[in-house]
């Protein structure tokens, strides 16, 4: 039902239940807030979004108060602005004055609001408790001093991701965001997905900045630096340079990275194709030849594998043993490429540009990540870190002439590029599995059932008369539902409800990753995804197994999919690591 009300004398009509904050946006009234995020329910923590109804004495929080019919809201009267200013001043009095050296400098919501209000002098004495940051994970840094206790990260961690690594401890002025029980983040159930950092309004949670290590390697004449770009990075990196989400900058990235000093530029999309060849073969093994348990569950998301090892280890045997594209490209670069290019693999320094903070953790996840005899990928940078490097380097990134990837590990199919979107791995795998099972090409490669931002997507694909039941979940909180269905069927001795499950830890998949440029919400996710699907449509080759470079690497180096060499280099194992021992 639609209701009518007035905001700053402007007539507004919205569906019942719409918050005052959202309704105001419709009439171009911006009510400032520090805690409300469009992805999340209001926490009502900051006290900045206060408004007044019809000259009432009491102020309402616009973020969590639904607009009611006939309300006459004013958002910026004298007292409201005064109170807002005082509250902001209070928040600043509890925040270190370290903007210039902060990871969020220039991109901080608190900084922006403080600038808008132009708070000239401080009449309230600063009080910031001296707490050292938590750098224990190597992926995410918790800088407690900068936390404004908005509660976004905690809502993200507990409700969106169901991880429960972060919670509020203590109370009053000592309230802090931290892992419960005063343990380090590394000891907590944290899966390093980094969604907390993507939603944090300030610099309290940031990715572990590893650009110094990359700069050092680039300037080290003894090292040959090579780089790979993850599927989703191409459609998001432009946001850091002011372009709309979804703008495909693949070729600019190739050129930019070469200018940064990388000897070779590879594309993770290529190894995504390799992953599909391995994973689809694995699926055929299990589905057609009945060797191995079903459902097969994708494993290219490191936050998801970490989550599974900690919480759902009863599914270890269902996990695809195929490594993630990042690791596959790493190992192929340090073996196949090194051999072909005649470079000592010991000198190779592999950097990956990832949408993700968990990818930093994946680099040393198990011994198999050193399959080449060296650390297969030396450093994983997030999109945000790359953007900073490009800006530091003096490269006019947006105006670069288009570049090319190295041809040996650089060509990719449309299936490889959609890895970056939720449902993309499943769609890519189905395209190839269908071919493997039937020997025929799909008439229509697009698999609409697994597209979109629905938390859990299901579908059935007919392969030679045998229906493959598939499910796609993104956002870790949506995993439980899917796994529980499988468990229930298992317990009841029934046939599995799904044959193939794709899981991505972050909502929207990698395009919504924890290392992507700030400001993610569903609008942006949709645009980023659209960019990837466009890239897919633009490719001549739409299926992984048809990628000529993939065929070549198998022919020249790997042998057969799932063969001994492929197994040695491209596969991994999982171990149960329950966080809370009973």
């Amino acid at each position: 039902m639609m209701i009518k009300a007035r905001i700053n004398q402007l007539e507004v009509e919205v569906p019942e239940g719409t918050s005052i904050l959202a309704a105001a946006r419709q009439v171009q009234v911006k009510i400032p807030t520090l805690c409300k995020h469009r992805d999340l329910l209001p926490t009502a923590a900051c006290g900045i979004c206060i408004v007044r109804n019809r000259g009432g004495n009491k102020l309402l929080r616009a973020c969590c108060t639904p607009l009611e019919a006939g309300m006459e809201i004013s958002t910026h009267d004298r007292e409201i602005v005064d109170v807002r200013r005082s509250t902001l001043e209070l928040i600043l009095s509890n925040h270190p004055q370290a903007c210039l050296t902060c990871g969020r400098n220039g991109e901080c919501e608190l900084q922006a609001l403080a600038a808008d209000f132009n708070i000239p002098m401080e009449s309230i004495k600063r009080y910031v408790k001296d707490t050292p940051p938590d750098r224990s994970t190597g992926s995410i840094v918790l800088d407690f001093q900068k936390c404004i206790k908005c509660g976004r990260c905690i809502q993200v961690c507990q409700e969106m991701q169901d991880v429960w690594a972060l919670s509020f401890l203590d109370r009053g002025i000592n309230t802090r965001m931290a892992p419960a029980g005063d343990i380090t983040l590394a000891e907590s159930p944290c899966v390093k997905c980094g969604q907390c950092s993507a939603h944090c309004p300030t610099g309290a949670i940031v990715e572990n900045d590893e650009t110094p290590a990359v700069w050092e390697a680039l300037h080290d004449p003894a090292k040959v630096c090579v780089v790979q770009i993850a599927p989703s990075v191409r459609v998001t990196v432009g946001e850091a340079f002011g372009l709309p989400p979804g703008t495909n900058l693949t070729r600019k990235l190739y050129a930019g990275l070469r200018r940064l000093g990388f000897h070779a530029v590879f594309d993770t999309n290529f190894s995504a194709d390799v992953t599909i060849v391995e994973e689809a073969s694995e699926f055929i093994e299990r589905f057609v030849h009945k060797r191995g348990p079903l459902p097969l569950i994708t494993s290219c998301c490191p936050a998801w594998t970490d989550f599974m090892e900690k919480n759902h280890w009863d599914f270890i045997d269902n996990f695809s043993t195929a490594k993630s594209p990042q690791q596959m490209l790493g190992v192929l670069a340090k073996t196949y490429y090194a051999e072909k290019a005649g470079i000592d693999p010991a000198k190779l320094f592999m950097v990956s540009i990832m949408p993700c903070t968990a990818k930093k953790y994946e680099l040393s996840r198990t011994d198999e990540m050193y399959a080449s005899g060296f650390k297969d990928v030396d450093v994983a940078l997030t999109t945000r870190e790359l953007a900073r490097m490009l800006k530091q380097s003096g490269i006019d990134f947006l105006h670069l002439p288009d570049g090319e990837a190295d041809s040996i590990l650089g060509d990719y199919s449309g299936a490889g590029t959609i890895f970056g979107a939720t449902g993309g791995v499943m769609e890519a795998a189905v395209r190839t599995a269908y071919f493997y099972a039937t020997g025929k090409k799909l008439d229509k490669v697009e698999l609409e059932a697994v597209r979109g931002l629905e938390g859990v997507k299901e579908g059935t694909v007919n392969v030679a008369g045998a229906p493959i039941r598939i499910a796609v979940a993104h956002g870790l909180a949506n995993v439980e539902e899917v796994l529980e269905r499988v468990r229930t069927a298992r317990k009841a001795g029934q046939e599995t409800p799904y044959h193939f499950i794709e899981v991505m830890a972050c909502p929207g998949g990698c395009i919504g990753g924890g290392g992507q440029p700030y400001g993610v919400d569903n609008e942006r996710r949709k645009l980023r995804i659209a960019g990837l699907y466009q890239d897919d449509r633009d490719r001549q080759v739409r299926c992984s197994h048809e990628n000529p470079e993939v065929t070549r690497v198998y022919k020249e180096f790997l042998g057969k999919p799932l063969g001994p060499k492929a197994h040695q280099l491209l596969h991994t194992r999982y171990t149960a690591r329950p966080v809370y021992q009973k």
Partner: protein, 667 residues
């Protein structure tokens, strides 16, 4: 134990109870126990003759906290009396003198508050006490004078003159009470002694010029059974306190709508502080379609100095349970929770026992009293967070989550505990319900003012002569409560102010002591009714310290969720702290006002919204004390911290009235 039926209850309601001739009730509430009541009880058990002798009973508290441990004694042929400041050493004297020799013990009697107007029976005992400023000064002299006069007239054997501990008459010279008729004389002069003995004791005539007729200010509705029944025995409640008769009436005679209508007539408003009409809360919860509704009893009393809820839970748990069940019936709830702070172990224990006993007697479970009504209740402990008294935080706490408030709407009556419609009522509110049902809403509404009806329990503490629990009709003035009921300021000092409403309230200076107490009047003065804590302060109390004390409490108890309260409270306290060390500036006063405004306007819950009230109200009425610190500097501050005396007495300072948001508890 067989389940009770309606017929059983009906029979109980008309049966006269045969009381034993000799009994002693020991008030074993937390206050009593802390003062040694368990030891008294132990000694009594040891020395009381076994068999059909004196019946010993454990009861809750009548509220005479100043005199703990308190016992009440009934001996055949003796007036019933309370003994205060009792000790185990007195037990053998009690048995010998009171029960054998029929003589009252000196210095421990608390006289009855009901005042006789006619000498209906021969006088056996005469209580005497000097109630003047030098309390107790002339008591012994008058005891001697009366005794001599009685001796002279040959009455010494018939009438005992006893020094009383408290006569319920204050600042009225020497007062005497003639027992058993309880005729009380005040402002007795030495010249009156002979007259009293001759006219009243011998002649049986009341001396009208001395007669103290001021009625007892207290009206005990909520506290009606406190200190009278055994809180650990459902039978006592059933047989001696019309226990569960209100429930029977509700289940057999009234529809839920009628119950709500009765509550509406009574005008009962939430006693937790905000004063939301109880009937409306029930109505709103009832109106919400749901498969399950909950009723929660809020026993998370946390104001410093407040102990109303604790006393009621400890002294009369079944009344609260009965009130809860009536509420449940009225709103269609089938489950209830008692949310009681863990610091109240005795209250928890007694509620737990009450639940077990109620279950045994079929008063909980399915098909209660054979009417088909089903109800179950559980106890949940609060872990000592003041903010958990706020409805939404309380719900989160019961659900096992961090006790932080959440935005309203949705109100608990729409989406409360476990997402279901929930009504949260304070202990005192629920305890008033059975009485309203039994005696009618009109009767209840007969007490109090137009907008605030009925009675209210206050815990009067601080610099007051008799710190105690009082229940007075709404509209009673603060002066009456402090001076008439509680005996005025301790050590006869000058009163400076009364703090009401705990950390959410404010101070009311002595110029406003004649304010009748009601939700609205207190709010107008920048304070609130709150749950009923009342702290009396004398001229030696620094108002800056008082503000700091309450603010520190809120700063410690802030859940930390929202910025204005979390940081504002802390920073405000820092400024006050600096100011009270003589390091404050005029500029600080502006900052204090700004922070207070931000906290009041932008905090999410009542705690943060009202936390600045003690600061604002002391600034409003005692602003010169703040300025004295600023002008006097560190040397003044040092002097103050040594002597603890305030500057010049407060002059009425009608500063701009700060607006006060009450600790809101709309459903």
């Amino acid at each position: 134990m067989s389940p009770l039926t309606c017929a059983d209850l009906q029979a109980l309601s008309t049966r006269a109870l045969a009381e034993p001739a000799d009994w002693i009730r020991v008030q074993l509430d937390t206050g009593g126990v802390a003062a040694g009541a368990e030891k008294v009880f132990g000694e009594l058990t040891r020395l009381c003759p076994a068999g059909p002798g004196i019946v010993l009973r454990r009861v809750g508290s009548t509220g005479y906290s100043f005199a703990d441990p308190v016992i009440e004694v009934q001996a055949a042929g003796m007036p019933r009396v309370h003994y205060g400041r009792f000790s185990p050493e007195l037990v053998s004297r009690l048995l010998n003198e009171h029960f054998q020799a029929h003589r009252l013990l000196d210095d421990h009697c608390i006289a009855t508050r009901s005042r006789g107007v006619a000498l209906t029976a021969p006088v056996t005992h005469l209580l005497v006490r000097d109630t003047g400023r030098e309390v107790g000064g002339k008591t012994e002299f008058f005891q001697f004078a009366f005794a001599e006069e009685l001796k002279r007239r040959g009455l010494a054997e018939k009438v005992q003159v006893v020094r009383a501990l408290d006569l319920g008459v204050y600042d009225e010279g020497v007062a005497v009470q003639l027992l058993p008729s309880a005729v009380t004389y005040a402002n007795v002069l030495a010249s009156d002694v002979a007259r009293i003995v001759a006219e009243s004791i011998e002649g049986g005539r009341v001396l009208d010029d001395l007669l103290w007729q001021a009625p007892d200010r207290q009206v005990r509705i909520v506290l009606r059974n406190c200190g009278i029944i055994d809180p650990d025995d459902v039978e006592d409640y059933l047989q001696r306190a019309h226990g569960y008769q209100a429930l029977r009436r509700v289940l057999t005679e009234l529809s839920p709508e009628q119950v709500i209508a009765e509550l509406k007539t009574s005008g009962l408003r939430g006693r937790g502080g905000a004063g939301f009409p109880t009937w409306m809360k029930w109505q709103l919860t009832r109106a919400q379609p749901a498969d399950q509704r909950y009723v929660v009893c809020n026993g998370d009393e946390g104001d410093p100095g407040a102990f109303m809820d604790r006393s009621v839970l400890e002294s009369d748990p079944h009344t609260v349970l009965e009130g809860m069940m009536i509420a449940a019936y009225a709103m269609g709830a089938t489950r209830g929770y008692f949310y009681i702070r863990a610091e109240y172990p005795k209250a928890v224990e007694r509620i737990e026992r009450a639940l077990v006993q109620a279950r045994e007697r079929g008063l909980l479970g399915t098909n209660i009293l054979g009417t088909g009504f089903a109800f179950e209740a559980k106890v949940r402990l609060g872990a000592g967070a003041f903010v958990c008294g706020e409805e939404t935080a309380l719900i989160a706490s019961i659900e096992g989550k961090r006790g932080s408030p959440t935005p309203r709407p949705p109100y608990p009556s729409v989406r409360g505990l476990w997402g279901k419609p929930t009504a949260i009522n304070n202990v005192e509110t629920l305890a008033a319900v059975p009485a309203i049902i039994l005696r009618g809403g009109t009767w209840f509404a007969g007490y109090g003012t137009d907008t605030s009806k009925g009675t209210k329990v206050f815990a009067v503490t601080g610099k007051v002569a008799n710190a105690q629990l009082v229940e007075v009709p709404m509209g009673t003035t603060l002066r009456d409560i402090v001076f008439e009921v509680c005996g005025g300021v301790l050590d006869g000092k000058e009163i400076k102010a009364v703090q009401t409403g705990g950390p959410s309230g404010g101070v009311i200076p002595r110029e406003h002591l004649d304010t009748p107490v009601s939700y609205e009047t207190l709010q107008k003065l920048g304070s609130i009714m709150g749950s009923g804590g009342m702290l009396v302060m004398d001229q030696s109390d620094s108002m800056v310290d008082v503000a700091k004390f309450y603010l520190r409490f809120c700063v410690d108890e802030s859940c930390g969720k929202c910025a204005p309260c979390r940081i504002g409270g802390y920073q405000l306290l820092q400024i006050l702290d600096r100011l009270s060390r003589g390091r404050g500036t005029e500029h600080d006063l502006g900052t204090i006002n700004r922070i207070c405004q931000a906290m009041q306007k932008a905090s999410l819950c009542g705690l943060g919204q009202t936390a600045p009230n003690p600061v604002l109200s002391t600034l409003r009425f005692f602003g010169e004390e703040y300025r004295a610190y600023i002008e006097g500097g560190p040397s003044y501050a040092r002097k103050m911290s040594r002597t603890g005396t305030a500057a010049a007495p407060a002059a009425p300072a009608p500063a701009a009235a700060p607006t006060v948001a009450a600790k809101e508890t709309a459903p």
